[in-house]
Subunit: 255 residues, 2 copies
């Protein structure tokens, strides 16, 4: 738990056309960065390139807004077609105020605008949606990278898909994990004792979110670094995915 | 924005008695870890050792609970004296349910139990409170470290005081910044353009929180590493402090 951690930006990844095999792309980008995968490496990949590779893109001109989307748009002075897409990606509206829609996505994430983003491609009126199943996306990238890196079946790495979210009470956005493959997202220290024999009470740490946040620090927003390599974090191997980060309704006071 | 980041745990820091000069202590710990401060380094220090050094400790046996604290304690099956201390540290109760008190502290932070923690010292019934002014704490540690490291007045480092908090909607806790000295906590990319000429719309990144979260990854909970050094993050020097992380009431939908 106390070795040095390195976070390395993977440069040179260009625009991602639909159908891109991200495992291959990331593997080649690592090579171009003079990096080879090592046992225990973690790759953090931004949602946006996953969504693009998977074709999770909507052309706004083809969207016909519902009546409710038009009402919401008029209130918030936003685009009705944009809001229509946000609504279609949600299963519940958590808050609707100040021109902001906080929704629960079909995955169970609670975030602004169902994670729908204006896409930065070609100046077209396009939106990117979250991946349909970010855990599966992470799993597929991980599997591909492990196969490309080694034939040895004990070779183990982890992959996190990250998105950039606002928070209640705090200014600024931070990266969070929306897809996880290969590592335990929440490490539970409860029941363990500290060096004074005192039982730790409330220390379940969302390490997947902390790893996503750490990776953002080398990604920047202008530089467009969509992948970071984290080396030196002794993660707990696990088959659990990002769903273990979703708080149970019964203990959530802010739904 | 795209150089490699290193996060180094500072080992060997023992128990912190009240009155400890943390600047000197951290400087000596860095030396013991064969590290010397470099221009642009960031030190992340956990709240707990700051609170202990500043004597922000309450002996539970000396606390006389109010009637309301007793009512709340009975409802939540918690200790009335403990709840009394939480109430005294708060200026507003945000939520009170499931045996959890989410409060707004006197600093303006919204977190569980006003940041009051059971202390892990000597098995005594003691609580640690948040530092009275974590920004000042960060500033004092930074000033001391800069003086100890160099006489050169252009030598610049940054210090973050971190605490470990739960979040709405997500399982697990993550580290957040409660005190900041020397760096801009929220980096605003709005109005800038990405490589496709597309104006970035909602990208103000809470880098101080991401740095705090990143540092937690080398701190562990059992190992007791209360300080981490982050090297290679090109922070924006600033006189702003952690108050810039507090969301304005008028845009907050979850108060």
């Amino acid at each position: 738990m106390s070795a040095e951690l390195r976070i390395v930006p993977i440069k040179g990844i260009g625009e991602i056309p639909p159908g891109t095999d991200l495992g291959i792309l990331i593997f080649e980008a690592l090579q171009a960065n003079q990096l080879s995968l090592q046992q225990g490496d973690i790759l953090v990949v931004t949602q946006k390139i996953v969504s693009k590779a998977e074709g999770q893109i909507v052309n706004l001109n083809e969207v016909r807004p519902s009546e409710f989307a038009c009402i919401a748009a008029a209130q918030s002075k936003k685009d009705a077609q944009h809001i229509e897409v946000v609504l279609r990606e949600s299963r519940r509206i958590v808050r609707m105020d100040h021109g902001v829609l906080i929704t629960e996505t079909k995955h169970g994430f609670i975030c602004a605008n169902s994670g729908v983003d204006e896409s930065n491609v070609n100046g077209e009126r396009e939106l990117t949606l979250l991946p349909i199943d970010p855990d599966r996306s992470a799993f597929e990238i991980r599997t591909r990278l492990q196969l490309l890196a080694r034939e040895d079946t004990t070779f183990d790495i982890a992959v996190i898909i990250s998105d950039t979210w606002g928070r209640p009470w705090r200014n600024g956005q931070v990266n969070a994990a929306i897809g996880v493959a290969g590592l335990e997202s929440v490490v539970d220290y409860r029941g363990q004792r500290d060096p004074y024999g005192y039982e730790l009470q409330a220390s379940a740490i969302a390490v997947a979110d902390e790893l996503a946040a750490a990776a953002e620090l080398v990604m920047g927003k202008i530089d467009r670094i969509p992948v970071a390599l984290i080396r030196g974090y002794p993660y707990i191997p696990s088959k659990n995915d990002a769903r273990s980060l979703l708080r149970d309704t019964s203990t959530d006071m802010f739904r």
